[in-house]
Every structure is written in structure tokens, then in C-alpha cells.
Amino acid sequence: MGITFRQETFRDDFSFRNSPEHIRRFPFPFHEDGYMYAVNIEPHVAGPKGSVLEHPIDVDEHYVSEMQDRALVLAEDPLRCQSLPHMTLAGWDLLELLMTAKAESYPEHFELTRDGDRWHWINRPLGIDDRFTFGDVATLPYGPMEYITRQSQGDFCLLDQRDGNLWMDAGIVTTQADWSLDFDIGMNFFEWHAPVPLAHEKGIFTRALKFLLNVQQGRPARRLNWTMTINPRLDTSPENYHKWGPDRTTVTPENVGKKVHLRVELQSFWRLPRSNGLVFPIRCYLISMDELVTSPKWARRLHRVIRDLPDEIAAYKGLTRYRATLIEWLAAHDDGAPTSPGFGPD
């Protein structure tokens, strides 16, 4: 049984919605009634059937519309996709990873046939049927990274590993929580994380880097991160801040349920075999407050998390302007009952 892809928008009229099944599978990021930074990294192994972790690379009902939104962003701003000259090999690594994972997990939608270097790729949801030579950039309409990530949900950072550090030397970034590839390109792990509050003092990044440098082939890892977004907008970039920043002033007690979205990133970390680089896919999932409170446990817990969040973290995540309104709205969905441990809805 294939996925039924929704036709929806992430801009203008914001027609994005989650189906009831997709609400149930939302990767809710809080395992307890509070939140603090931690090195919350775990092996990226298969999760329960139907969950976003069932397959190594998740494809969902928003796939086709997200790819249309990415094409719009790239048409307006080509610098969202950049690859320094030494990163082409890593791009081929990524192309192989995404094509093989998709074809294996979703054979009704994707098909890959390999005869040595001659590859044949069929992407049915997007109507693509291409033959090319693996390793020969002249046989694809874009570079290998751009070609395959125009067909893959989520942002992708390709990192070069050298001198005991990781370097943001390539990527495609159109669904980001307020950071810019054009600004970060060429930076190392500590440089691009410099703006994050509190975590440096806790030694989080030193430990996280040590872990990531040792991620091995065939043993990917993952973590969840989160923020909130007003309106289901994928492209909340610094480049377009003038378009979405003012949205934060539009939250009222009446429209919280529709406008305020929990935004969860499923970040995974993969060693790339030919280049010895790493890829971080950063996959964004959105859920409106109206959709989220259909799970009473999530409603109670999110209320407690947002209410008790340290001010620095609330400010870094851009919540300050509408936090009080949101807490008041969520409080009405929190009867004070205890919540069960773990992420899932009850």
C-alpha cells in the first residue's frame, strides 16, 4: 500500500495539515515534563512500524508538496544549496545513500537499477525517470547532492572530517529553524554552534563532536531537536526573516490552535563511505497546537515544558513574544493529571 501524497502549501494560504494517522506518528520530542539540553544521541535503528523511525529515511504524506516548496525556495535563492569543490565525492555518497534507502523502503514509489556505473532511477511521486553514470556529474541535470536532495524531504548538511573537527562544506538548506547555510559554509562544528546558549558551558558540544567523529559506516545515530514556528512555514530562514519574523506578533488567544506549530527536527548522522565525510539529514516535522492537543498526554506535557523552560532557551528559540499567550492556551488543556513516561501519545 502506497502513501497518499497531500497537495498543500507551506506559504501564502498555508494549507498544510496532518492527517489523523500522521498526528499519531508525530515525533513528539519530550520524554518527560521538562526540557534541558543534553547529548540525546542514540543509534539510528528501526523503530515501530508506522512511526517516523520505521525506515532509515522517512517519506511521508507531505513529500510531494515539500519538494515543490523546496523548488520555489531554490528558484528565489540559489545560495541555499552550496558545495565546496572537494565535496563532490560526498555528494555521490549521499546520492547512493538516499536512492538505495528509498528504493528499499518504498519500492512502490522508488526504483533503482544498477549495472556497474550505469544507474537507472525512477521516482514515481515526482515523475522522474533518469539514467546516469555514477561518478560522472555531466550525466545529471544538477550536482549529485542537489539532484537527490531536490527529491528528499529535510535539509542536508555534508560535513568534511579533518583536523579532529567537522566542517560544514556543503549542504542544501531550505526548511531550517533560522540558520543560514550561506553564513555557516566552511565553518567548523564549534563555529556554527556558537550562538547556542548554555550548552557550551555544559561541555555538550565537545562531547557531541567526539561522538560524531567516531560515527561509523553502517552505524548511523540520531537525535531530536525542537522549536516552534508560527504558521506551517518550512522556510524560516534568516534570509527571509522579514517574511516570517513579524508573524510572531500575530498570535492571539483565538488563533493559537491554528497558528502555533511545534517544529521537530529528526537529525541523523551517517558516515559516508567514499569521502569519509558525514551527512546530517535534518528532517522537519510540523504539527499545529489544535492537532497536538488531540493527544491529552502531549497537551499536558507541552504545557509544562513551555511553562518551565529557562528564559535563555525560550529566547533562543524565538518564543518570547507569544509565550504567555501560548501557556495560557495550553493550560486549558492541562488538568494536572500525571503523564506516562516516554514519547508516545497514550
Binding site: D160, D163, Q216, Q217, G218, R219, S275, N276
Partner: protein, 321 residues
């Protein structure tokens, strides 16, 4: 979470005598499929059951990364070593089932380099066989200088010269030839990266001259696996697991822990990757640090040890394992 690698079930497809000291081993997947793609400079850890003694030794992959039907390694027989190379030379035959780790690369090419200058000593040639194959396929610029004892012991010297012509130079100890290091290091285009793999003395020599001639440390890469050295036996208490273990003369501390059912993470087993770094709870005695991971300050502090290669002499050592 612990890191580490996934294991691969392989069969020995062939064993080839290269010369009086070196044998080459070919591994294929037992299920007949392709092995994982790897990058030049990667190694695998080969698991051996030598009687009652398990041995896990790292060896560089020397086959072309472009062909993953099989992996090959070349092993130099070390008659004074602890026995891993002797086991491979004397006991491993075609058809035998073995277990190896997924490839891990701790000696990666810097893909930004305008040119790769490679210096090999003896069996240190193996990672360069894979790296030159990778670079040649991509049109990368490289130059390989290979120091050997005698022409008869120049493993793959002839093949490399046949493949890459003047890009490969050989230097024979018995003819008094030496790599003209200062001349090479003084006459490279900007953006050249330097790679060295060979005996410790050679690595120190190359790194020392490169630093003296103003090479940036980021452009100097070296592969420095130390095999664990035998030593006096000692006794260790593992506080976290509540065990007291005995480390034999021919055994490493890491191997003794594994034998007792305590499994610290590892990747290289040669004092380089840092995975098995272990905190010292208390000690009375002297550490024999043999790793390239901890800083000199950490060595002096007596608070950390790398159990894959380092040892201890004294009445009492308690570790946080």
C-alpha cells in the same frame, strides 16, 4: 551509547605469498554479496581465535576502493610479536570463515589537497595502495616515495611502478638509498598534503622535518598504529563491574578486560582512536603509556589510560570499568 563497528562475516578467498616476509589475504562476503564501500586509508579489525586466545588486529585495506567484491590486506610476519601475524601466516588458509569489522578510516585523504605527497616505509605501503587507486580513478595528483630494505622485500614496488610510472620512487636500504626528505618537502606546490605511514622512527623523522621546514600541522597526516607491546603481568581491579583481572605477559589490558566479559568500545586497538579511554580510580605504581591519543599532561596525571596499548607496573590499579 557505545560506538564501535558492525561485523562482517567473510571467507578467506585466497592467500598469496608476496615475499619472504609478507602474505596477502583476500576476503569475500560469506553470503556472496558486495562488501561495503570504503575510502583509501581505511582499516579493518580481523578477529582470530588462536587456541584459547582471541586476537583482534587492525590491518589497512590495500585493495582498490572501487572494487568491493573483495577486501585484501597484506600482513608482515612479526616473529617477535604477540602472535597475530604468525597466526595469519601459519594458520589461515583459503576457504576459512573469519569475522572482520566494517572499515574505519583514521588515515583519510584530505580531499582539498592540490597534490598528495605520500611517504611509505616497509609494510606501511598498504594504505597507499588503496589511496593511489582511488586518486588515480579521480584524476588526483599524487607522488609516492617508498622506502624498502631490499628489492626482494619491496612489496608491490614493481606493481606500483608499472601502474603509475614516474609518480612512484623506490629507495633501497641495502643500496644506501634514502628518501630525499628535505628536498621533497622544500619543493612542493602550495596546497600539497603530506602523508606518512611506516615505522615510528620514520614517522617522527618526517613530522619533525616537516615542522622544521614550516609545513602547517594540518597538512601532515600520519598513520601511527602501535601494536600492543608485551610486558610484565599485572593485576587490575575493575570498579564498575566489580571484577579483578590478571593481565598476562602477552596480553593487552583491553584483551584481558574482554576475556573477563567487560567490553570497552574500540575502533583501532592501536592507541590512536581514543575509544577505549579509561578513567583511573586509584593506583600505586607506574604507567607505561604507549598511546598517541592522550596528551603528555594526561599521561603524567595518572588519571587516564588507553587499555589497548598501555600497561602498568605496581601493586595496585583500580579502573572505572
Amino acid at each position: 551509547m557505545s560506538t564501535g563497528t558492525t561485523k562482517l562475516d567473510v571467507v578467506v578467498a585466497d592467500v598469496v605469498t608476496v615475499n619472504a616476509m609478507v602474505k596477502r589475504f583476500h576476503f569475500r562476503r560469506r553470503d556472496g554479496g558486495l562488501l561495503p564501500t570504503f575510502s583509501g586509508g581505511a582499516h579493518v579489525v580481523v578477529e582470530m581465535q588462536d587456541g584459547a586466545t582471541p586476537r583482534l588486529n587492525p590491518y589497512s585495506l590495500m585493495s582498490s576502493p572501487l572494487d568491493t567484491r573483495e577486501y585484501t590486506i597484506s600482513v608482515r610476519r612479526d616473529d617477535a610479536g604477540r602472535g597475530g601475524s604468525l597466526f595469519l601466516h601459519q594458520r589461515v588458509e583459503p576457504g576459512q570463515a573469519m569475522v572482520i569489522s566494517y572499515p574505519v578510516n583514521l588515515f583519510s585523504l584530505d580531499l582539498r589537497a592540490k597534490k598528495h605527497l605520500m611517504l611509505a616505509g616497509g609494510i606501511g605501503i598498504t594504505p597507499f595502495l588503496a589511496q593511489t587507486a582511488q586518486l588515480a580513478a579521480e584524476g588526483g595528483q599524487f607522488e609516492l616515495h617508498y622506502s624498502v630494505r631490499t628489492a626482494a622485500l619491496a612489496s608491490y614496488g614493481g606493481e606500483l611502478q608499472a601502474r603509475y610510472g614516474r609518480r612512484v620512487s623506490l629507495y633501497h636500504d641495502d643500496r644506501g638509498e634514502q628518501i630525499p626528505l628535505d628536498r621533497l618537502l622544500s619543493a612542493q606546490p602550495l596546497g600539497t598534503h603530506l602523508y606518512v605511514c611506516g615505522p615510528s622512527g620514520m614517522i617522527d623523522w618526517v613530522r619533525g622535518r616537516a615542522a622544521a621546514l614550516g609545513w602547517p600541522a594540518e597538512a601532515v597526516h600520519y598513520e601511527h598504529f602501535s601494536a600492543p607491546q608485551p610486558g610484565l603481568p599485572f593485576t587490575v581491579t575493575l570498579a564498575a563491574s566489580g571484577k579483578t583481572i590478571h593481565v598476562g605477559e602477552q596480553q593487552s589490558l583491553l584483551e584481558a578486560m574482554e576475556q573477563a566479559g567487560v567490553d570497552p568500545p574500540y575502533l583501532c586497538r592501536g592507541g590512536v582512536c581514543g575509544q577505549c579511554e579509561t578513567d583511573v580510580v586509584s593506583c600505586e605504581g607506574t604507567f607505561l603509556h604507549n598511546d598517541h591519543w592522550l596528551s603528555e599532561d594526561e599521561h603524567r596525571s595518572g588519571r587516564k589510560i588507553m587499555p589497548c596499548v598501555s600497561r602498568f607496573e605496581g601493586p595496585s590499579l583500580v579502573l572505572d570499568r
